[in-house]
Symmetry: C2
Subunit: 194 residues, 2 copies
């Protein structure tokens, strides 16, 4: 997705250690028009799989997943990290290691909102090690729903997460794939940019 | 906002103690079309104040605030509860007591994304005691930006939060105002519904 790559080139910053700062447009400050385009692109790539629900994890997944849910006109469910008093007493639970927070987090989904008749599209901001995505996949499996696809806004292919998802035999789509960082340079799959 | 009130009547549930469960369409599962209508309504009510940024708090504020930011075509900033490694070293900080989680939470905003030239519209899912909204107001004040308005999707007027905001002398708008609960009945300002 060219618009996204250009934005990452312009405003993303490699902080070292493979950490990409995109919080000026994606996960602290959000550009809503870019987010709408991201949602439209996810919808374009996944619509034929006829998903009935989008599933993501709080917090950073919510914006792109909501934009996609708007374009697909299907509900979004976001897995919560803590159980609010309003949640069903026995939610589905999975544990995921968090890259950016440095500790394990639990992901909770109420069984009210994922059922065996659902066709689930999992979306998140990053595909890196895929630990969060994996926890979401396991939540879908627990619910008895059918997983139909997985999408990420930005993939860091050097972290190997995609390989861990291939056994699921569903389409895995990333809108921008970063192959590696070279000092200050962000190297996308296929070509080098500053 | 009639559409919203009808949805609350149909799918909201009073769990007792003034707690309203709306997680089938607003803060766990999200109806993206309702959310778009909510965003459009916020935009209609606040556009003339010429906001340059929408500010909310993670997690449940993100969806309605993003929908409004999309309609207003201005960036959304969401205050974070934890400092990710990508955040500026010295974020603006305020503490807010959380109603649904039962403990104090810290809200953090990077000073990169709120500046004295900004005109800030604060949006959140609920206006109840207004503790979260108050913490957001203090973040705006810390940044030197100008607060131009405050909006909530659902107000529980019996919790008195609106009174605590009047000294700010900015418009405070809620899209649905619940006056009280009577057992299973949700009583909106002005009329009774089941």
């Amino acid at each position: 997705m060219q618009l996204l790559k250009e934005r990452i080139e312009r405003d993303g910053r490699h902080l070292g250690g493979g950490i990409l700062k995109v919080d000026s447009f994606m996960n602290h400050q959000i550009d809503p028009l870019l987010m709408r385009s991201i949602g439209d692109e996810f919808a374009r790539r996944f619509r034929t799989l006829q998903p009935t629900k989008v599933l993501t994890a709080e917090t950073s997944g919510i914006a792109p997943a909501l934009a996609a849910a708007m374009a697909l006109e299907i509900p979004l469910v976001f897995a919560r990290k803590h159980q609010p008093v309003t949640m069903a007493e026995t939610p589905l639970r999975e544990t995921a290691a968090s890259h950016t927070h440095g500790k394990d987090v639990e992901l909770l989904v109420s069984p009210e909102y994922l059922s065996p008749s659902d066709r689930v599209l999992i979306l998140d901001d990053f595909l890196a090690t895929a630990r969060t995505l994996h926890a979401l996949v396991k939540l879908v499996q627990q619910s008895g729903a059918q997983l139909v696809g997985i999408g990420a806004v930005i993939e860091k292919s050097f972290e190997g997460g995609r390989k861990a998802l291939t056994s699921l035999k569903v389409p895995v789509e990333s809108l921008a794939v970063i192959e590696r960082f070279e000092a200050d340079q962000i190297v996308f799959e296929g070509h080098i940019v500053n």
